[in-house]
Symmetry: C2
């Protein structure tokens, strides 16, 4: 069958993370591998009432075809949200997408020709990397400092690679590192984007999940040229299963995203869009987000305290101010893929770093932990087992 | 901004039909341009109760991330449906998609390299044509006879074009023609696909909407080689706003579709998938489909009777046995784009044929009418006005 496939799909593999979800079906395994929000935060009773009411009072809007750009009242709500972040220019427009992933995929499709270079953080979000691979982009990774992409390395990458079309960044509570890019670096990134005349995709699914430190302005809010495509999501603050995200970009870019969305899924399902609107109108979203932050602060602090207690000194890790992830660094030469196989014997799962790499074949000494989904007793048990394994394998 | 865009999106235009939806906002316009099912068929009360119950009793399944291939109980239902059509082989698997459109888009992405040829019916569904344009396919149209694609012309197209990768067909109640391909031609199409070693995408959103004549086996059911990708949809038998479709294909193809779906929208929203499952389990889907058929039979017959009464002899049209569309042919040389501008003055809208053409710039003497959405009094009024215009412009 392989001979029929387009070149773009031949090198693609199913995301190791998504594949691992299947493995996680073993109820005994403590999965610190996921990226899901905590289900206890889902406002399911409220959404139940809202769904029933929408289908009784306004069924045709929910069940008939809708417009590709999204349900107008949801677009207004998103406009208010991004306006508050300073991320909405008068020349911008919004497209509601089927999750943030669709926003990234369609924005990539708008810009990237076969063989063009896309600069990403190293490590970066696997969904984006695979999406870009499907447009035959050449992926170039720029290492992360504690305050985001290394700017000297970014400039080198822009300088030394041919046909760089865009920079993809998750500047806030980055996946998989949890690192946030400083304001200074955000400005520098924009300067470099201007100097080398490239587009920026700013992916910000975790921005509302800050539980310590101060907010940093979005890159989009600093952009005066329409160079930044901003991708947002309701997955981490309302529900990922509803698949609601959005793009904010100069109207000329949004028009192209809309045309591609039209041929991709016509429009995002309407019931879920309408449910988001009614929930946000009827309930206090700020309060709900505060609940999310409080829970993730506790869980992150708890996991870090367990790691401080059980992990060997040979393993270092980030201390995020928000989001869902902690990135661990083991001594150079360690292959965290092999480590995972051992770890699964201990019934603990994490994501090895090569998944987040521009070169998935190359062994990585990084691995990602998630603190949002497991109850605290399982976090402790999992981290303790993992700590034991790490001490055995890597020394104390 | 244009200089940044990838080559693939530069030639794309928003679908004239979708753009027209915006124009249709004028409540005075009688739109015979749509392709929507009749809202009176939506089981909204049932779906309201179902949605409320799912979110009360099983909220985490509906609101958390799910698997890319789809909600397992829905996959089972779809398996039963396609098995009844003889369209499910043991080596096949199913992917639930965000509407049939996503199935077509992702299947196109799996197979079509830049510059490869895709053979389509002339005219064909605009959503597919634009989707294929975004993969820089060369589109070649094969004219339709009353019983589907002209097979001599199909063989000529396969013979004379370089790098033909696939044939895209809507064999049953084709959009925009309403024409159904005969069993003989389906077999011949498969023979030719084998002879020229190309893939077939069989798009069947309307198959359940037969209101006269006899069912014809799907092309998928005749395929013994895994050469056919079958795309189905719940849009025309349950609700388009829910955006639920599916692909059925050899597992090796389905795996590639799944990988692309993973980076496209991760998975189709779960609540709507679960609602479809509960509706189908709890209610009689066959009875519901029978209601759809009855209504569309009446509406199609009514529109045809109005056309027989009010249209000039210079205009001919198809008499479909199912689906949602009638295709009209005006004398050669007529430009139905110009005709539409006149028609909008009469407050009647239809879709001009060039939208469905491989060459949208070339004027077309075809136009499409839809009978599923307007009430009968408006159908009569609209057809009468349109008939008047046609007589004025084209003679009796």
């Amino acid at each position: 069958m392989n001979k029929y496939f387009a070149e773009r799909v031949k090198p693609l593999k199913a995301s190791a993370i998504r594949e691992m979800f299947k493995l996680m079906a073993d109820p005994e395994i403590i999965s610190l591998a996921g990226g899901s929000p905590s289900p206890e935060l889902f406002p399911s009773e409220e959404l139940s009432k809202i769904a029933a009411k929408i289908l009784m009072t306004n069924p045709n809007a929910a069940l008939q075809y809708g417009t590709t750009d999204g349900y107008a009242p949801l677009k207004e709500i998103v406009a208010d949200m991004v306006r508050k972040l300073g991320s909405l220019k008068e020349t911008d427009s919004i497209i509601i997408t089927t999750g943030g992933q669709q926003g990234i995929d369609l924005a990539s499709k708008v810009f990237v020709n076969d063989g063009e270079t896309v600069i990403v953080e190293a490590p970066s979000f696997v969904g984006t990397l695979n999406g870009l691979r499907a447009y035959q982009a050449k992926l170039v990774g720029v290492p992360l400092d504690d305050d985001g992409m290394n700017m000297e390395k970014l400039e080198q990458a822009l300088e030394s690679n041919k046909n760089v079309k865009l920079i993809y960044t998750i500047p806030t509570f980055q996946n998989p590192s949890g690192i946030t890019m400083s304001l200074e670096k955000r400005k520098k990134l924009l300067d470099l984007a201007r100097k080398y005349d490239v587009i920026v995709i700013e992916d910000n699914p975790y921005g509302y999940l800050r539980f310590s430190g101060e907010d940093v302005p979005t890159i989009k809010s600093l952009d005066t040229e329409g160079r930044v495509v901003y991708v947002g999501s309701f997955s981490k603050i309302l529900s990922p299963g509803m698949r609601i995200g959005f793009t904010v970009a100069d109207s000329k870019i949004s028009d192209r995203i809309e045309v591609l969305k039209q041929v991709n899924d016509v429009h995002t399902p309407l019931l879920t869009q309408m449910m988001a609107v009614e929930y946000i109108k009827k309930y206090d979203m700020d309060e709900h987000i505060e609940r999310c932050r409080k829970l993730y602060r506790e869980k992150c602090e708890f996991m870090l305290s367990c790691m401080d207690k059980y992990f060997p000194k040979t393993v270092t890790y980030t201390r995020p101010q928000g989001g869902l992830f902690i990135l661990c660094t083991t001594p150079e030469g360690t292959n965290t893929n092999e480590l995972l196989l051992e770890s699964l014997k201990y019934k603990v799962a994490f994501v090895p770093g090569n998944s987040f790499s521009t070169d998935i074949e190359k062994p990585s000494n990084l691995f990602r932990l998630n603190y949002s989904t497991m109850p605290n007793d399982k976090i402790e048990k999992g981290i303790k087992s993992l700590g034991q394994l790490l001490k055995e394998k890597l020394g104390n």
